[in-house]
Symmetry: C2
């Protein structure tokens, strides 16, 4: 185990680790340590990873492409835990390892973030949040985003309250800003072809994921997120044809995964299709612009 565990620089959602708070850590050598969540959630998430990793009906391609690799659970020294006792962490691939200037977006998928058999007070709490945010209306909400400007290196990372209040138009702006250089009101979407478009781009990966969700009836991923990642410099250097900026699309956060029991995850799938439409619209717009610029 590497000795220099530290909070990930690029973290955009969830609690942040500090001297008196548990939070995720990275070792700088490719591993990500996520403290088990309190109550049943942490155990539930660890059990999901263990079962999912071994499940014979999960296509290896899907597991490898769209999920972080699971390396078991490990106890780490935790100053913030009672008496400083070691605290259990889920060990995963660091999804942004190898990206010198990572640009990250965390998009929580699903109009409904609670499993159907949840107790009423939990339903009421989640429902209120789903209606206050864009979840109910769009089928997803942006939980966090971090964009490094490839030109100047400036980092844009809106805080949680700022993201909470945005509407459909705001989501569209965030998804455009995620692939723009500069910033400000004039979002150029200069990296859209490289990051969203092309063969290995976000859109192609989301469509592959969608094909699995149209068939899979093993799991229902309530309150899970899709994490996007790319490297600002690599994307800026990529050919305008797109798809070579080290683009990553991964599912994360499995504390509320439910058994599928033979039914597809229509809630996740609906939100995923909505996200695909939002990103497809941006790709179509830049593709049209590029072809009219050349004509």
């Amino acid at each position: 185990m590497a000795s220099d565990l530290r909070p990930p620089e690029h973290q955009v959602a969830g609690h942040r680790a500090s001297a008196d708070k548990l939070g995720p850590l990275v070792d700088g050598e490719g591993l990500f340590y996520k403290p088990l969540q309190a109550g049943e959630r942490g155990e539930h998430e660890a059990a999901f990873y263990a079962a999912f990793t071994a499940h014979p009906a999960v296509p290896p391609r899907v597991r490898g492409a769209f999920f972080p690799r699971f390396h078991g659970t490990r106890f780490l020294p935790a100053p913030a835990s009672p008496g400083g006792a070691p605290y259990p962490h889920i060990v995963l691939d660091d999804l942004l390892a190898g990206l010198p200037s990572p640009c990250v977006a965390d998009v929580k998928i699903g109009a409904c973030t609670w499993p159907p058999r949840s107790p009423d007070p939990y339903v009421a709490k989640c429902l209120a949040k789903d209606r206050e945010t864009t979840s109910a209306l769009l089928g997803f909400r942006v939980s966090g985003v971090r964009v490094v400007d490839a030109r100047g290196g400036a980092v844009w990372r809106p805080d949680r309250s700022e993201l909470k209040g945005i509407d459909a138009a705001g989501v569209r702006r965030v998804l455009r800003r995620y692939v723009s250089t500069g910033g400000g009101d004039d979002l150029d979407c200069a990296l859209a072809a490289a990051v969203y478009g092309g063969e290995g781009g976000v859109l192609a990966q989301l469509r592959e994921l969608k094909a699995w969700f149209e068939e899979q009836t093993l799991y229902h991923f309530y309150s899970a997120s899709i994490l996007f990642g790319y490297d600002a410099n690599a994307a800026a250097a990529a050919a305008p044809g797109g798809g070579s900026g080290g683009v990553r699309v991964k599912l994360v956060d499995f504390a509320h995964v439910d058994d599928g029991d033979g039914v597809i995850d229509h809630n996740f799938l609906g939100g995923l299709c909505s996200l695909i439409k939002f990103i497809g619209d941006i790709v179509a717009e830049v593709t049209e612009k590029a072809s009219s610029d050349h004509s």
Copy 2:
């Protein structure tokens, strides 16, 4: 206007017309008269039909294949209305006209049956019903079904309370019974290839509808239903290759349609994909059985 207006024999959901109750009527010549619902709903549904019929962005093929044709609104004598005054009705194609032995299923689509901006008490009422029925879990619920046995002519029409209580396994049984001859516990799915499968079958039609829902951002169809119809005798006589039993797949019930505002209807689409999986599973099962019987 034909003089012999009467309640449709095949009605499987909603209020039934009688001497002292408003309900839908048919004229036996191809038209269906639906009394305007109380409050804003009736006006809202009539306005939807008028706007939808004229909307330039709705592909004519989609409008023609999947929606009843709208013939305006008309006042009809209504013994049940106050003072016997004429009451406004929406005039539509009778979707089951020309089917001597219509088999009908009404499937309400969407995990969530209330538009996001609904008042809290309405949300609470709908949410309770969505959780009690299969809507939340499956993304759809069977609201009504009527099956005529092609062999003996016996009609199976479970009442509303019977359908309300069914779970995922019950829905699977109903969808199998809808294409079975006989009845009882041994559901033979003898008509599955003709009704669900093949070129013009339910599955092919649902997939075409799905392609539109992946793109369309005009409308959100909360609490709308898909109505299936076929003729028991025609389906029984159809070639086992499938798809020639006069199969109809139509959207109905538009009192809660919302503007799409540039966002796809992820709630309807998710439920539609779930229904496609249920029906696709039945088609796959009978196809496999047929090929193993022949080998």
